[in-house]
Subunit: 389 residues, 2 copies
DNA sequence: GGTCGCCTTTGGATCGTTCCAATACGCGGT
DNA sequence: ACCGCGTATTGGAACGATCCAAAGGCGACC
């Protein structure tokens, strides 16, 4: 490879060097079977010799395919989204597709700006984790622009593809588990943002409580931000009440960690004096002391699913939208008191460690669509989170 | 805005609609002062009316400026990198520049592939958090390709721009603090990867130990991965020894959290039975129970600094490389036993809460380069981590 | 009235690729 | 000798912007 090129090497240069035409070189680039084997090898050699770099932008200008997709995250600092990105990025990479990533930091304004920018870059499609307050019209607009889009996690419009999990079933299972352990006053903590995720997670909690004839007083539901600090403050507030709850279902693991910190501040031990359940099963949940009982949704697999669905949609833009929902699994560890002699020591259904190992195995497998498509969605879109909410 | 366009709107269309030439529209796009105010407004109106979308790729083809940079992270799931990305992204956004983000997941192979892809996309520059084993030749190559590049955190080549922190000073201060509290057998935990960061953090620890005439036996340095699990395992191993240490300086906060989990497993309380110090001061460090004493390096500001330096370098590609080093600050909380009556209760120099508040204030300020340039670097590049290491 | 200069505007060439219709070529069959 | 056919290759026209040299219009000044 020559050292100090200041002029870019083009197809023309390669063609001249290999003694063929520009078109032939282009065909070689595309891996066409039309080109004779000998020619193909000669051209490849020339490309290497000249240090040729493919110009994706020039190609895109003509072909209208960029082999690049956009990924718009609502909050990259949340561990769950980092893990999701990890899976998604790997899947796209595997498919020879690059990701143009942007972090909206939960700002509707930045989200709008980034969508604009993605269009300017002519990405082939978009994975969107919509920020709170995203209007269904935004999704409609993308459709009108014919920009393939997959909504991830938070459902805004049922008229576009969606990859997520059955949140309602998740918190239902978590709450039911706590009830089975003997708890009666169970709080829900977190879910401040007005998103489909919040609605469904709170909904599942309510379903389970109602089914067991338990009171769902509004002051058992503390809506707070998804931070450790907010979780700690929320549980402090609950413990100050006359008849405090004995357990809490948390919006996600981060809030649950905060709750455990808050318990610590009062000299209470999670899993012994108070039961805590999280949601997401992010990497650190297993390591916690006590280990966090939580609803696992395999972030990385969800990322892969989103990537696969988007690529599929790019290939066939006019098919009806698909809703992919993974089935969450309750992982029982110590923080709810069901294991290692805490609280009441009742026998448990799920072995956390085993389930975890299983999940690991799946995660490390070769890449292929492994999510489950389910028709009976737990999401009931038209309603609370309509336009402008 | 018309509904069902299937043909893209080009400058030509806008020009026709506004009754001017293509060139004039282009000038308007560039915000040129040459165009008369009335014309400018007419053109803008036409753009809006037709739903015009700027085609960055077409522009790039001609102008050789994409107003897009690449950000290559070595591991997006590490909270520190997520925070860095947060700051960097915001700064670029502020400068009207997009970021093409990729996650190498600590794989040299993926890093190479992504650099290739960035070149194909003709990004204006690259912020590179080099993965372990990155050769200085990689950086030289970027230079030969005339692709502006800023190394972040990990220094690979002194011949290119670098943004990082004075790691050696950081662990030196942390270790000195522990020695001041009366500790004599102090371990270093973490820093498995062969990077300049590992070298300098271990170096600072050694410096302080040596300066105080303390033994630096090799079995006090446990090199392990930057995970909670590895930290827990490492401290367990240390405690099994004949004469275990009474304190540990950790490679970063994540390892420190692991160490605290490991202590918990042995029934020991960090800050009372064993002193723990971290590095980075990631968001959650303050919330921990006990609060983590750690070396703060303000990840978001570092991200901003990297963005600024890169933009500067793109503007002036031929200037000599700059090394920006921020000065780390020790934040004393409870985990080292210096506060709240732990261990020996000696008076302390730094108030964690105040320092934190100060940092917050700076972080939220308007965007401007606030890092400190220092000539006396703590990094001694040629050596241990040379080519191919 | 001609010329100079200033402010605006413009046409054409160009960037590096892909697409498409056309061609060159070897070869067996009539 | 000509045709038909399949395989391999090619030149020219896009794609949608920017750049540049040049020109149009209009006062002002000599």
């Amino acid at each position: 490879m020559p050292g100090g090129h200041n002029q870019t090497v083009t197809l023309e240069d390669v063609a001249r060097h290999a003694g063929v035409s520009r078109s032939t070189v282009s065909l070689v680039l595309g891996g066409s079977r039309l080109v004779a084997r000998a020619t193909r090898e000669r051209v490849s050699a020339s490309m290497k010799a000249l240090g040729y770099v493919y110009n994706r932008n020039a190609a895109l200008l003509r072909s209208h395919r960029s082999r690049t997709v956009g990924l718009l995250l609502c909050q990259i600092t949340e561990p769950f989204y980092a893990e999701l990105t990890d899976g998604l990025d790997a899947a796209l990479d595997h498919a020879g597709c690059g990701a143009f990533l942007a972090n909206a930091a939960e700002s509707l304004d930045r989200q709008t700006r980034f969508i604009e920018r993605m269009r300017e870059h002519h990405v082939d499609g978009l994975v969107l984790c919509p920020v709170e307050g995203t209007s269904p019209r935004t999704i409609e607009q993308l459709r009108a622009w014919r920009l393939p889009c997959v909504q991830a996690l938070r459902l805004v419009s049922a008229d576009a593809d969606f990859v997520g999990t059955d949140n309602r079933a998740g918190t239902d299972a978590a709450t039911t588990h706590l009830i089975g352990l003997g708890h009666r006053r169970i709080a829900f903590i977190g879910g401040l943002r007005r998103t489909s995720v919040s609605r469904d997670r709170i909904g599942g909690y309510r379903d389970a409580m109602r089914r067991h004839g338990l009171e769902i007083s509004n002051d058992l539901v503390i809506r707070c931000a998804s931070t450790r600090r907010a979780g700690a403050e929320a549980v402090a507030m609950l413990l100050d009440r006359g008849e405090p709850p004995t357990a809490a279902v948390c919006y996600n693991d981060v809030v649950a960690f905060g709750v455990m910190f808050g318990l610590h501040d009062r000299g209470l031990r999670p899993g012994r004096d108070f039961a805590v359940v999280g949601f997401d099963d992010i990497d650190e949940a297993e390591m916690w002391r006590p280990g966090l009982t939580t609803v696992a949704i395999d972030s990385r697999q969800l990322g892969r699913a989103a990537a696969d669905l988007l690529l599929q949609r790019i290939a066939a833009p006019d098919e009806a939208p698909t809703l992919y929902l993974t089935t969450p699994r309750l992982i029982v560890r110590e923080s709810c008191g069901a294991r290692s002699g805490g609280m009441d020591g009742r026998a448990i259904a799920t072995d956390g460690r085993e389930a975890r190992a299983h999940r690991r195995g799946r995660t490390d497998d070769a890449h292929s669509p492994r999510y489950e498509a389910r028709e009976e969605s737990s999401c009931h879109w038209p309603g609370e989170f309509g336009p402008g909410s």
